[in-house]
């Protein structure tokens, strides 16, 4: 059959449609003082406390170490954890299902909902970078692209894993429990606070395959030319980046599958 009656103005672009919902989400985020404080102030305080903990960062300069830790903490505590609670809260309030009845696709609704969290993540990392420059600890990165790949890949992976986590998270409060294994494992065994070389060898090798580890490795490689074992890179950083890039790509594929399978749009009956 013909569908002549279906001719309608093309309407706004896909990006502008997502932006419409994303800016409403951002407005909501700003109006929610608790979320704002939790997501912005707490991680910043945490990062500022890091030097006092006197953690062994290998040979990485202090500024670079701070930046790696800031990105890692932001990704896990803000991007991942905040998004699990946001997605679950929106689902339990039946908002997600409502948003999905319109012209936006499911993925577009998920992206729009994630937008404020992602924006704050990027803003926070930028703020720390500016801070590092301000306290005179900035050293020119060995490679600029790798840290950016790490940041973007890390954000996308956290969004995917957060979406997947909602599948077994019944309430926004229970995200504190369902998100915990990932938070502990990825902060504890990613080389974020100490090089993986301090771990028993087998454990260190295994830890390289955890989701956050390749992000940390790529950051350290790009910012300081330092390998996962804490040594200076011998030769090209991109050659050394092959393994973490492959692992990150693998996690992005797995994360996509898990998010598609696990994401629940409506509360369970």
């Amino acid at each position: 059959m013909t569908t002549a009656t279906l001719s309608r103005p093309a309407g706004p672009s896909r990006l502008s449609r997502v932006w419409s919902l994303a800016s409403a989400e951002t407005r909501l985020f700003v109006r929610n003082r608790t979320a704002l404080v939790n997501s912005v102030v707490v991680p910043v305080l945490f990062v500022l406390a890091v030097p006092a903990l006197g953690l062994d960062g290998g040979d990485l300069p202090f500024g670079g170490r701070l930046l790696v830790i800031a990105v890692g903490i932001s990704l896990v505590m803000l991007t991942y954890y905040n998004l699990v609670t946001t997605y679950v809260a929106r689902r339990e309030e039946l908002v997600l299902q409502r948003m999905r009845t319109g012209e936006l696709t499911g993925v577009e609704v998920q992206v729009a909902t994630a937008a404020p969290t992602v924006l704050v993540t990027v803003g926070q990392v930028a703020l720390i970078a500016v801070g590092v420059v301000a306290i005179g600890e900035w050293t020119a990165p060995v490679d600029v692209v790798l840290p950016l790949v790490a940041l973007v890949g890390g954000i996308v992976l956290m969004v995917l894993l957060a979406a997947a986590t909602t599948g077994f998270t019944r309430t926004a409060e229970s995200a504190q429990i369902t998100g915990l294994p990932f938070i502990i494992v990825s902060t504890g065994l990613s080389g974020l606070f100490y090089p993986l070389s301090v771990l028993p060898e087998t454990l260190g090798e295994v830890a390289r395959f955890l989701p956050l580890t390749p992000v940390v490795e790529l950051l350290q490689l790009g910012l300081a030319g330092q390998t996962w074992q804490g040594d200076a890179v011998d030769g090209s950083v991109w050659a050394a980046a092959g393994v973490p890039l492959a692992i990150l790509a693998g996690w992005l594929v797995l994360g996509t599958l898990a998010a598609r399978r696990g994401f629940a749009w409506a509360p369970r009956r």
Partner: protein
């Protein structure tokens, strides 16, 4: 760019806006929708009636594109709601039975954000006026009453100027005045040529709005047709009371009698001759039929008969 009001081509004008054929849907072992079929044409309201759990919402979710069909086909304007999602959604307005909106946006902000996601939204002011929320535009959704929230939800459903509108229990929780207003809104949509599919368990609502009705029970459509056709599936009733000493009227062949003391109820499919006979008899014998009432079969009667399981699918036998 083509104008939005392009004249409909003849074949789209005659194809039903919604076609559901042998639709099935299961949750695990439980089959919630068991092979239902119906159509909704342009400029028409079809009411899907049924008690809670009859499968109405499960069926709607498929044509809203929110859930895949377990079997059968669903077409909206000739298109598959899942495969042709983008084109279907541009034409479809959906009001879910229960849905939420973020509490910290104002009414106007909510509508503006939603309008930004649509191809051809009506102006926000117009949408506000449509559901009488103009004066509440700057109020946060959190502070709205249940009825106001439902009306905002309805305004969102209609914001994209849909030609096919699916309303799942649109007036549940509304006060009588708001309900009346929603009815007028729906009648306006239909007058403009929209196809409306709504579910309800208010019979009054179906009577007021529906051109055709489909009654569901346990995942099946057990009755469907115009209100008159459905009412006709039910016998007419004649009720009266007799005094103790009165003679008993002769019972015509086509009448089923239910007696409760002095009160008599006759059920018949031939109301007029049966009533004429009864009145003639009463006149002849000088009997006063106290509290005499004669009533044709009604939609309500049919609905109740279906709900308590005493009604088989008569309409299907008639076809």
């Amino acid at each position: 760019m083509q104008p939005a009001t392009a004249a409909p081509s003849t074949d789209t004008a005659t194809t039903p806006a919604v076609e559901v054929h042998d639709l099935r849907r299961s949750y695990g072992d439980f089959e919630a929708v068991r092979g239902i079929s119906f159509e909704v044409r342009r400029g028409e309201v079809l009411a899907l009636l049924g008690v809670n759990g009859a499968g109405k919402t499960s069926a709607l979710e498929v044509l809203e594109g929110l859930a895949p069909a377990g079997g059968g086909t669903v077409r909206v304007l000739g298109l598959d709601p899942v495969r042709d999602r983008a084109r279907v959604r541009r034409e479809l307005g959906v009001l879910l039975q229960t849905s939420g909106l973020p509490g910290d946006l104002t009414v106007a902000e909510t509508l503006r954000a939603w309008a930004g996601t649509l191809s051809d939204p009506r102006p926000v002011e117009e949408a506000l006026a449509q559901v009488s929320l103009t004066g509440r535009a700057d109020v946060r959704v959190r502070a709205l009453s249940g009825g106001e929230r439902r009306r905002l939800d309805l305004a969102m459903a209609l914001l994209g100027r849909p030609s096919v509108v699916v309303l799942d229990e649109p007036t549940t929780g509304l006060d009588p005045e708001s309900r009346r207003q929603v009815w007028e809104l729906v009648q306006g949509l239909v007058a403009d040529g929209a196809a409306v599919l709504l579910t309800t368990h208010h019979l009054e609502e179906a009577e007021e709005l529906a051109d055709r009705v489909a009654v569901m029970r346990a995942g099946q459509v057990v009755l469907s047709g115009t209100q008159a056709e459905i009412a006709e599936t039910q016998p007419a009733t004649v009720r009266f009371a007799l005094d103790a000493g009165d003679p008993r009227p002769p019972v015509p062949a086509e009448v089923q009698v239910v007696e409760d003391g002095h009160r008599v109820e006759w059920r018949t499919r031939a109301l007029q001759p049966v009533l004429a006979q009864l009145l003639a008899w009463a006149a002849e014998h000088g009997v006063v039929l106290r509290t005499l009432a004669a009533r044709a079969g009604s939609l309500e009667q049919a609905f109740l008969a279906v709900a308590d399981g005493t009604h088989p699918s008569l309409m299907e036998e008639n076809r």
